[in-house]
């Protein structure tokens, strides 16, 4: 069976996330700041009595900060025993990949190179395949 992909918009681009790594999609109800935490952590939120660590997708790419008032859509990603909510601008759909992902042939742009797994084709379009775990790790992890 072909890999399922979650298509969403992040920093103005339509990208694909491997659906297997995503638990669900939520509308965040409010974010409690976590002062002093890493820069790409927008704060904490709650989902069905669980604490979510909210990751600002834009900040994780080192491309600025998400607009707090507007951005409430997030994808839920469990990773290493913690649950994260990754803020994206829009979540479109879950689609089936047409084939296995292909490695990147050329740099795809500042910030993106770090989180991109390759390209993948679905519904006749080519998407950048993004690893949510690398987004969660944040820019600092790359620098270190």
């Amino acid at each position: 069976m072909a890999e399922l992909l979650l298509i969403g918009r992040l920093a103005g681009r339509r990208v694909a996330f491997p659906a297997a790594k995503v638990e669900g999609v939520v509308e965040l109800e409010g974010i409690t700041p976590a002062p002093g935490a890493a820069a790409h952590v927008a704060g904490l939120s709650a989902l069905r009595s669980r604490v979510l660590t909210v990751i600002d997708g834009l900040a994780a790419l080192d491309l600025g900060r998400a607009d707090e008032a507007a951005a409430r859509g997030a994808i839920v990603v469990p990773c290493d025993g913690h649950t994260y909510a990754l803020i994206v601008e829009e979540v479109e759909d879950v689609v089936e990949a047409a084939g296995p992902p292909a490695p990147l042939a050329a740099p795809v742009g500042a910030g993106w190179d770090r989180v991109a797994l390759g390209t993948v084709e679905a519904n006749g379009e080519l998407f950048l395949l993004v690893d949510p775990f690398l987004l969660i790790a944040g820019p600092a992890a790359h620098a270190a």
Partner: protein, 768 residues
Amino acid sequence: MDELINDFIAETRDMAQALSGAIVAWEAAPGDRERLDEIFRFVHTVKGNCGFFDLPRLEQLSHAAEGALAEVRAGSRVADTALVNAVLAIIDRIGELVQALETGESLTSEDDEQLIAALSGPAVTGQAAEATAAPEPETKRSLRSIRLAVDLLDRMMNGVSDAVLARNELARRLRDAPRDVAVEAAFERVSACIAEIRDGITRTRMQRIDSLFSGLPRLVRDLAADLGKQVRLQADGGDVELDREMIEMIRDPLTHIVRNAIDHGIESPDERVAAGKKPAGTLKVSARQAGNQILIEVADDGRGIDGDALVRKARAAGLISAEQADRLSPAQKIALVFMPSLSTADAVTAISGRGVGMDVVRANIERIGGVVDVDSRPSQGVKLCIRVPLTLTIIPALTVSAGRQVFAVPRSAIDEILRVGAVRIDRVGAAEVATIRDRRLPLIGLSALLGIDCQTPREEQKLVLLKPAGGEVYALAVDAVHDHEELVVKPAAPAVMAAGLYAGTTLADDGSPILLLDPSGMAKRAGINFVENEIDRALHAGAAEAEAARETSLLLFRTLDGGRRAVPVAVVERIEDVAADAIAFGAGKLRVSIGGRILPLAGCASAPAEGKLRVLRLTDGAAEIAYGFAEVIDIRALVLDLQPAPAPGEIAGVALIDGAQVELIDTHWLFAQHADAGRDDAPAPICALPEGDPWIDNLLRPLIEGLGYRVARTGEAADIVIAREEDEVPADANVVRIRASAEGQGIHRYDRAALIGALAAAKGRGHG
């Protein structure tokens, strides 16, 4: 097959651990058939299993031990020290092999032969039958149990925590929604079920502290043997239950304390005899539950901690100045034992001189929210008391806020909460210093630390005095203090923990996430530079007390009948709620049972019919009494203008506090009146009684104990021996003879006055 072998490993390990107590007991009394059987069963089981799994070395060892033990059981051999040691060595080796099996290491088999050879000592016949006689009839039924993987338990616990939080969220939504009785009833049921499950799961995480104590007999035996000392271990309260994780956290500190006690505390037999003690030292390890804390006490009757030697060491190491040394109180001197890099032993020994000191013990205990206290009396021994919370996952916390955000602070780190208005705050450069009762404390503003916008002026803020584990007290200014809550705390994501300010996350009742602040992390982050060390602080506090000598710190409270009374804070040990059924009128006084002890109860005339009673636990240092009251009003430091009461009694006088008349309790009178007499710590004289005589057991024994004597256990040396006419006594014993017949030698057994007189005389002889 792998699974079977894992079961075998786990089972053997558990059995070996449970057995170590039995082995020591067997060594002490080789005639004890029960213990012998227990050990025999162990090696027999191991042997059987080894055959099945094809583990020739284990089989050989267990076979040899089984053979030797079978001879003892059959009476053809006596269990002498050599045999006991050989069997012990084999059981140890079995443990090592099983461990190796588990980790996949290999263990050399060279000396297996030696171990087996050690078993075949000379076989003795004849006396054996006598030695194995008289087994104590004691049957132990094993409870039905199954083995579970620990992570499964953890998963269940996490699931239940989630369920609790989900229930809270549902409760909140139900409150907002229009009322529906049917839904509410269903919710109540779900709620009750979840509470029940949570209770059950929590209990599966609880383990009897026995598992911590079961290794002690062996440890004590081996250490004592190595050091040429005689030590008798008394473990008590093994049925107290504690969170499994907690037990693991306490294991090392407890072992260390026990090692210390035997190595440094208890003297060699010669030294003890010279000091007028029994050659064998006693080590008492006990556990009991008090509220949501567990108290573990380790007490020895050794030489005690030499406070002056510690001071000399601390001086030599440059930890304190000569001036400081002069001003230390005895208790402060002894507390030096917790200073890093101080050890009382002049020579580093193999036993406890391994670079791990009491400072590490204290740090470990404090890390899990516990406290260690030490009390020492020269030549009478040392008592160490460890207090730890029951579980790790549910933390009592105080919620505070900075700006509009709520945070939690672990209550274990909180010393005190104050209004800023009552405190002088100085600005020194960029830093702030709060002066509280002549103590200068660094001040951290929570909002500033976290970069939160804060509108509350400093004067309206509250100060929370925090004492992080192993650190110094500092003041944290918060915008508001909310509530005490029991929070289910979970670790935060690494990116959040990276801030170094938080200890975890939790959810508030309204479903919003709360960060649990880490007191020591905050101090580090704020760059607090503690100039004063701990000793200085203690001295400083002492000096401040002297200056404020005329001021008395008083706890104001409302009595059960609504009056306002005050009691000095110094005598209040703690405040507790007790159930009404824990209160009873007995032996002429109203008494209450708290934490396994019975305390006289003052402050109320009769037990409340139902519900709970709030009590102050007052102490004069030795005795303790409980004082029932309704509620705490305040704590105030005051220079009292007391109008004395006309006659001595419970009330010393009346004073005006905040414009209201407050009665001050006369604590001296209270203790004189209520405290149980005869609780002095001098060891009770020991009195040996003939055994197996119902009259002695039922009539004489209570009288003797009532007079303050302790009745000797079988075989224990006694100060006084009470004997009947027909009893034979050792020539050098201090004997009081009693007789049942009207005429004859000794005192008639119903002549109470003569008996008491004779005992007193004998006691005098014994001490002379």
